[in-house]
């Protein structure tokens, strides 16, 4: 065995150790605790069977919110998104972005993200999808489909772009959700969220559990909080919606940017991992079973 091979093997063993150590860190967040000798009240509560039920009161609130949003010819609101990401130590950090959203049905959308993180501008002009990065002075442009719903889908497919507030700007919010709903229930009222009285409901699909605060009077969503079933760390994603304006007049030039139109163009592209040319994806090794000698 050459010295180089020894070094590489040592590095590989180090990686293996990191896999084990890091796996332990991450797993510590999600692994189930070993059964206690005596059931604790919490453990007993966890074993209570849950009946998946769509409570009519919760469904009515969801439908009312959906109808209010779907009926709006135009809308403006502010979306503040807070989402968790684990730190190297494991406990999550929370990051926040703020976006100003303007919609005009059926085919115009503007999302101006002012911070934190890099500023960004997204436009659906009705004929073009434009994503402009003012800090880098770069813009990506593609043909727009005929509706905002289709534009959201296209942005996701071609560039992995996604807006958490998409739930409230699609043409039929409840219709999008209804087919996958597994659970919905009414929680109560809050007088804190959004500075008004809201009805709190929770609903779930196989993929996500959402708690929502919806205005008791105006039926506008003020806050949504999501946790994904597929996320082993059960991170929290929080969306605050404020400054609602429905059916307001919007200037015709609101859905375009002169600066974006004149800057350097780049492509839309998904940033998914990719393998270098000529390299096939590695497969996990199968453990060998060498004879144990004592």
């Amino acid at each position: 065995m050459t010295g180089t091979r020894l070094i590489l093997r040592g590095a590989a063993l180090g990686i293996a150790g990191l896999v084990a150590v890091a796996g332990g860190r991450a797993g510590a967040q999600t692994r189930r605790a070993k059964p206690a000798a005596k059931p604790t009240p919490a453990a007993a509560a966890a074993t209570v069977p849950v009946t998946l039920e769509l409570e009519p009161r919760a469904i009515d609130i969801l439908k009312a919110a959906s109808a209010t949003l779907a009926a709006a010819r135009t809308m403006r609101f502010t979306a503040v998104v807070s989402y968790e990401n684990p730190s190297l130590l494991g406990p999550p950090l929370v990051y926040t972005t703020r976006s100003e959203v303007t919609l005009q049905r059926p085919d115009k959308l503007r999302v101006i993200t002012t911070g934190d993180g890099p500023p960004a501008e997204f436009y659906d002009t009705g004929t073009q999808l434009i994503a402009f990065a003012p800090a880098e002075n770069l813009v990506a442009v593609a043909d727009a489909p005929p509706t905002v719903d289709a534009a959201l889908a296209k942005a996701y497919e071609m560039a992995a772009m996604y807006f958490p507030f998409s739930d409230v700007i699609v043409a039929d919010p409840y219709g999008d959700l209804a087919g996958s709903l597994k659970l919905a229930f009414y929680i109560g009222q809050s007088k804190i969220v959004g500075g008004t009285t809201t009805d709190m409901i929770a609903y779930a699909t196989d993929a996500v559990f959402v708690q929502a605060w919806i205005g008791a009077d105006d039926k506008l969503p003020r806050r949504l909080r999501a946790i994904y079933a597929a996320d082993p760390a059960q991170l929290r994603h929080d969306l605050e919606l404020s400054d609602w304006q429905l059916d307001v007049a919007i200037a015709p030039d609101a859905f375009a940017s002169a600066r974006a139109a004149s800057t350097t163009r780049i492509d839309f592209a998904r940033p998914d991992p990719m393998l270098p040319p000529g390299l096939t994806p590695p497969t996990a090794g199968k453990p060998t079973t060498p004879a144990r000698k004592k």
């Binding site: 091979r5 020894l6 040592g10 590095a11 590989a12 063993l13 990686i15 150790g17 084990a20 150590v21 890091a22 796996g23 332990g24 991450a26 797993g27 692994r31 990401n85 684990p86 730190s87 950090l93 990051y95 972005t97 934190d116 993180g117 890099p118 990065a133 770069l138 772009m161 996604y162 958490p164 998409s166 739930d167 699609v170 999008d176 959700l177 996958s180 993929a207 996500v208 959402v210 999501a226 597929a230 082993p232 760390a233 350097t264 163009r265 592209a269 998904r270 940033p271 998914d272 991992p273 990719m274 270098p276 497969t283 996990a284 090794g285 453990p287 060998t288 060498p290 000698k293 004592k294």
Partner: protein
């Protein structure tokens, strides 16, 4: 040499259980362990209860916290108390973490996978390690000292391919079981890969911080290094940074830069 490597791996697996026992084992004699033996056999006891013994071409070791290792005749196995395992022989090895990570390799080539989908890959003689995942490059500042580099919430590797209508939280199909976005596991592997890359760059005589050897093809970054020049070739915009070419694209709610071969 095989014995030494296996014992080292056991130490690493023990690290998955808790840092203290691994440390205690590694420094056993210094803090109260004892060793005895003869020409053909030996035993060792650590202060905290770990032990090792061997002779006649075979050996075994036990940590006080449940890790074990044994080997001989060119092969070895190791088990962590919480389920991590490793084995090897004849120039190859595999390892599995208790929480889903795995690694395998041999003769200078290895791959490692964490439970969230990130993969690190190293080819013998390549001098570089490539990490397939968005963790290390896309989110370079995990401690939040500056978070200019992070993007707004994305669907990449999180909502997976189940874009049922891309409508939002409620309707986006969160189908992917492996979330790689910023998880600590991937970050650890990413750090190791970066350290590996830096070490190779240093060995090759590059100055620390040089951009020419620190980037691997296909990797993506939220920002460019200093001193890049924009270049347009065949109607496509690139940035040349030292000897490394970056292609900017707009995705996941922001601009990112992918390292590409010389266009």
């Amino acid at each position: 040499m095989t014995t030494r490597l296996a014992l080292g791996l056991v130490g690493l697996l023990a690290g998955a259980l808790a840092a203290a026992p691994a440390f205690a084992w590694a420094h056993a004699n210094r803090f109260g362990g004892s060793t005895s033996g003869s020409y053909s056999s030996w035993t060792h006891s650590g202060r905290w209860g770990g032990s090792a013994a061997g002779g006649n071409g075979s050996w075994s070791g036990h940590s006080a916290w449940g890790g074990t290792a044994s080997g001989g005749g060119g092969s070895w196995t190791a088990h962590g108390a919480e389920g991590g395992t490793a084995s090897g022989g004849d120039g190859s090895w595999t390892a599995h973490g208790a929480y889903g990570g795995s690694a395998s390799g041999g003769e200078g080539t290895w791959t490692a996978h964490n439970a969230y989908g990130t993969t690190a890959y190293h080819t013998a003689g390549s001098g570089t390690t490539t990490v397939y995942g968005t963790d290390n490059a896309y989110h370079p500042t995990y401690y939040g000292g500056t978070y200019y580099g992070y993007h707004p919430p994305t669907t990449v590797n999180y909502y997976g391919s189940g874009c049922y209508d891309c409508g939002g939280w409620s309707s986006a199909g969160a189908a992917a079981a492996g979330a790689t976005l910023g998880l600590a596991t991937g970050a650890a592997i990413g750090e190791a890969a970066e350290a590996n890359t830096a070490a190779n760059a240093y060995t090759a005589g590059y100055a620390a911080g040089s951009t020419s050897a620190a980037y691997t093809t296909g990797a993506i970054y939220a920002t460019l290094p200093a001193g890049c020049s924009p270049t347009t070739l065949a109607a496509t915009t690139y940035y040349l940074c030292g000897n490394t070419w970056f292609k900017p694209s707009y995705g996941a709610n922001g601009v990112y830069y992918r390292v590409v071969p010389t266009p």
